[in-house]
């Protein structure tokens, strides 16, 4: 008998929807650092639980920051 796959059901709430004061801006590197892995990848929505519209804003901001060399395209991003 194979053990039943356990499905973790955790209610994830978009952190930007709960806190409407946070403004996503490509200039705020300290904020954006939280949304990329150590390798510089954008952390997917299924892990962070952000809603679709806010995830789009996060992606846009990170990509702009990358263009102007505030964040790396790949490589080490110290937290």
């Amino acid at each position: 008998m194979r053990p039943k796959k356990r499905v973790f059901q955790r209610k994830r709430v978009c952190r930007f929807c709960t806190d409407p004061e946070t403004v996503l801006d490509y200039k705020e590197v300290k904020v954006l650092r939280n949304f990329v892995t150590e390798r510089g990848k954008i952390i997917p929505r299924r892990i962070f639980g952000t809603c679709a519209s806010h995830q789009r804003q996060v992606c846009e901001a990170i990509k702009r920051a990358r263009h102007i060399a505030l964040l790396p395209y790949s490589g080490n991003t110290p937290r």
Binding site: Y26, K27, I68, A69, L71, Y73
Partner: protein, 163 residues
């Protein structure tokens, strides 16, 4: 008129005069016609996330402005020719802006500056007493006692065996 934000990165080898010269030139381009500068912020030398034109540092200049799109294309054309500018990015913030809007935006920047200065002062005041009350370095507990007791127990055990 539209509202834009432009960030451009200058070579770190430039002197302060050369930096101001580049900034003035770009401002002159943006101000042709009805264009106006809302704010200029020199971020100064910063470490780049990756090498640009074999440079690891760059002088960041942030510029918020309301201009016509033609001025922006002209500015970017000059940036591409100019050797001092390593990279630039222009982001459209608003589709339309009038002179009243520009005035309001300037006021916002002023307010932000005042708020930032006030916050800094508060932070400094908080830090000052903390630095004064620096805890004295902890005295390390003497370890000699433990070693001595160990030696004693060994001695006693030897005696026991000999008996």
């Amino acid at each position: 008129m539209r509202r834009y934000e432009t960030i451009y990165i200058l070579r770190p080898t430039l002197s302060e005069d050369e930096v101001t010269e580049v900034i003035e030139k770009t401002n002159a381009i943006l101000c042709t016609g009805e264009g106006q500068i809302i704010a200029i912020d020199k971020w100064g030398l910063r470490k780049l996330a990756y090498l640009i034109k074999k440079e690891s540092n760059g002088y960041y200049v942030f510029c918020d402005h309301g201009t016509d799109p033609a001025n922006v294309t002209e500015m970017e054309r000059i940036f591409r020719i100019d050797d001092a500018v390593m990279k630039y990015m222009t982001v459209k913030v608003a589709d339309t802006i009038n002179t009243e809007g520009i005035e309001a935006a300037r006021g916002e920047y002023e307010a932000a500056k005042v708020a930032a200065a006030a916050a800094e002062e508060e932070a400094q005041e908080e830090e000052a007493p903390k630095q004064a009350e620096k805890p004295a370095p902890k005295k390390e507990a003497p370890k000699q006692d433990e070693e001595q007791t160990d030696a004693k127990t060994e001695a006693t055990s030897d005696e026991n065996t000999s008996d």
